[in-house]
């Protein structure tokens, strides 16, 4: 795994995660906006996409829907890691429908979370 995209509008979280991944030798792109993220996804080849659900412009699910233009459902399930602070049953069931990994914010254990995101 070489390249990673972090979609997160809370800059502190975004930059902290960026630092953490860079320390592990990964090339990291970031986006605070969903629309910019879609653009980045369509024009680059990321090995992993960490996506927050509550963005300012559109939702993380919208980003995944747009990414379907480029990726197969299998690729979506492997590439995307969904991050959310709102784990309502509706959100969970929708997230599960993409079969991708799900991380609850705040992370209970940072190491564990990093493992989930980079594995």
């Amino acid at each position: 795994m070489n390249t990673i995209l972090i979609i997160e509008d809370e800059i502190l979280i975004q930059q902290s995660l960026k630092k953490l991944f860079e320390r592990r030798g990964l090339k990291v792109d970031v986006s605070a906006s969903g629309k910019l993220a879609i653009d980045l996804i369509l024009h680059n080849n990321y090995d992993r996409i960490i996506c927050d659900l509550m963005l300012q412009d559109i939702s993380g699910f919208d980003v995944i829907e747009e990414a379907k233009r480029k990726f197969s459902p299998e690729e979506i399930s492997q590439k995307f890691v969904i991050m959310t602070a709102y784990n309502s049953p509706q959100v969970l069931s929708r997230a599960n429908s993409y079969k991708c990994r799900l991380l609850n914010k705040p992370f209970d254990d940072l190491e564990e979370a990093m493992k989930t995101m980079t594995e």
Binding site: I13, S16, Y86, F107
Partner: protein
């Protein structure tokens, strides 16, 4: 028209003039036709008028007939009228001929509006009025009157009769009627859609419409229809009849229909009044029966009473909580009872809790993301190449963030309406109550005494309930002492007896005057200017629910107030 008695008489035939309405004059001009005359024994004058999308042919003897005006057909009509054959034919034959040369549709319209031979308008009217009197006498509901409208002589070829009714003040307009003469229909429309519909009908001069002209008013049939609006102080109504075809209606039909509805208006009014007062009475009856307090309505004249299900014979004059003379000889009594607390105060309590819960939930969600950012950031900085001092600061930031998260978590859990109760220690209960009331009791000196190691006792009660009661007592006490001179003191003493944990809240404030004591736990009783008079009622209600109690202890030797909450030991 087809059987119009019109003996042809070739010898005395004369020409009649056809008058042409200016509206269709242009059509004539396009065809290069001059107004022309027809032969007729009666010297009848014939005029052709375009009204809406229909052509009218009027005869000077007051008789007339009409047929739909289609662009294609007008040519046919005019050409037909212009031919020599036409001129020579008696009128009846001409129109018969015309009808026969076109398809059945025209024929149907033609025959449905024309009067039978020998029949005159007055006879028809007599018959209509007789029928209207009959059906309005027979109808005991609006829907049956609407259905029977189709029995009126000239409406016998119609398939649908309905009304759309809006009672002023109601949020919906209701459609009531019969489709295909047997299928009862009922549906509802938004008031603004109904009003638009009503106004279009009102403004229209021709009163003839098609079902697709009003997309918001979904009529249960397809085709053109006649409509007439009726309005009164209490309601607006549109009456609709249709033959389920796409042909428009003749002037006769429109006039007859409008007059019928005018004649029916007082009957509509009567039936609507009756139906809706019946409905109101039965709804009121249901409401009163289910009213959550014992209730009795006494009839001062007959001495009889209406009582609801909660009223029992044991209730007495002194239990009356609310009493009012209502219209006429009636008196309404509401009785104080356990139900009063159960129903009314559960609701107040629930509203309070759920509002706070919502508020705290929002707060938690809004704060959790930035706090998480702070935590992540400080964690990363702590592992970077910075001085030991800076690392310490980063660790402190992380710790503080954790504390914030825990506090928010606890508060929002506290105010969730819980159905399951977890065992909780007395100490936890007291601590939570003190945290919540911290700002209220800043100036008060507090002492907390646990007797017999009561602090570690576990209770199986909903934490939030108990905390709310104690919080209430603490705040009440602090408020009572607010304007007091000298030191303000409050003590919480937690002790036990054989089955109960006793939580006493005492202060050195003004206490409660003896004459107020009897009202202390009555709803809406308050000594505060801003109070609701519900705090103590709610608190006692909660305590009783948990199997405990809340009382005021009177001790003449002591100054200040003394409340005791008792809760059952697990």
């Amino acid at each position: 028209m087809e059987n119009r008695p019109y003996p042809p008489n070739q010898e005395t035939s004369e020409y009649v003039k056809i008058f042409i309405d200016p509206v269709i004059m242009s059509d004539f001009q396009k065809l290069n036709l001059e107004p022309f005359t027809l032969t007729t024994e009666e010297k009848a004058q014939l005029s052709i008028l375009k009204r809406g999308d229909r052509l009218w042919v009027n005869f000077s003897d007051g008789d007339h007939c009409d047929f739909p005006y289609y662009q294609k057909n007008v040519t046919t009509v005019l050409e037909g009228l212009a031919t020599d054959t036409f001129k020579k034919l008696p009128l009846s034959d001409v129109f018969d001929g015309f009808v026969k040369t076109t398809q059945g549709i025209e024929k149907r319209v033609f025959s449905s509006v024309s009067l039978s031979p020998g029949e005159n308008v007055k006879d028809l009217w007599d018959e209509i009025i007789k029928k209207i009197n009959l059906i309005s006498g027979e109808s005991h509901s609006l829907s049956s009157l609407v259905e029977k409208l189709l029995d009126v002589p000239f409406l016998q070829k119609f398939e649908t009769s309905l009304v759309i009714l809006h009672l002023k003040g109601q949020t919906k307009a209701e459609l009531i009627g019969t489709v295909w003469r047997f299928e009862k229909k009922q549906s509802f429309f938004e008031v603004k859609d109904f009003n638009a519909f009503f106004n279009s009908i009102k403004k229209s001069k021709i009163k003839s419409f098609t079902s697709d002209s009003f997309p918001k008013i979904n009529l249960p049939f397809n085709g053109s229809f006649l409509a007439k609006e009726v309005t009164s102080r209490k309601y607006s109504l549109v009456a609709v009849v249709s033959r389920h075809d796409f042909l428009s209606y003749g002037k006769d039909e429109i006039e007859l229909f409008e007059t019928c509805i005018d004649l029916l208006q007082p009957h509509f009014e009567r039936l609507i009044d009756q139906e809706f007062s019946d409905k109101r009475i039965s709804e009121l009856r249901v409401c009163l029966k289910d009213f959550p307090l014992p209730l009795r309505i006494r009839d001062g004249i007959s001495g009889t009473s209406f009582m609801n299900d909660l009223y029992t014979g044991e209730l007495q004059e002194k239990d009356i909580f609310f009493n009012k003379k209502v219209k006429g000889p009636f008196t309404l009594d509401l009785y104080d009872s356990d139900e009063l607390r159960h129903y009314a105060f559960d609701l107040f309590h629930f509203q309070r809790i759920s509002l706070l819960g919502e508020l705290l939930n929002t707060l938690r969600h809004e704060l959790s993301n930035p706090l998480f950012g702070l935590k992540l950031g400080s964690q990363i900085f702590a592992t970077m190449d910075i001085s030991t001092d800076s690392k310490e600061i980063m660790k402190e930031i992380e710790k503080n963030v954790n504390r914030c998260q825990v506090i928010i978590e606890n508060f929002s859990n506290l105010y969730q309406v819980q159905s399951v109760t977890k065992p909780v220690t007395i100490k936890k209960i007291i601590d939570e109550s003190l945290i919540l009331s911290k700002s209220e009791v800043r100036e008060v000196r507090k002492s907390i005494t646990y007797e017999n190691k009561a602090e570690d006792l576990q209770l199986e009660v909903p934490l939030i309930f108990v905390v709310q009661i104690i919080f209430n007592l603490i705040v009440n006490s602090a408020q009572a002492m607010k304007n007091m001179e000298g030191p303000k003191e409050m003590c919480l003493i937690i002790s036990t007896d054989s089955d109960h944990v006793l939580i006493d809240v005492k202060d050195n404030g003004p206490g409660i005057p003896e004459d107020k004591l009897t009202h202390l736990f009555k709803p809406f009783f308050t000594t505060k200017t801003q109070g609701t008079g519900l705090g103590l009622v709610l608190s006692r209600n909660l305590a009783v629910k948990m199997g405990g109690n809340l009382e005021y202890l009177v001790n003449n030797n002591e100054k200040g107030a003394h409340f005791r909450l008792s809760l059952p030991k697990t």
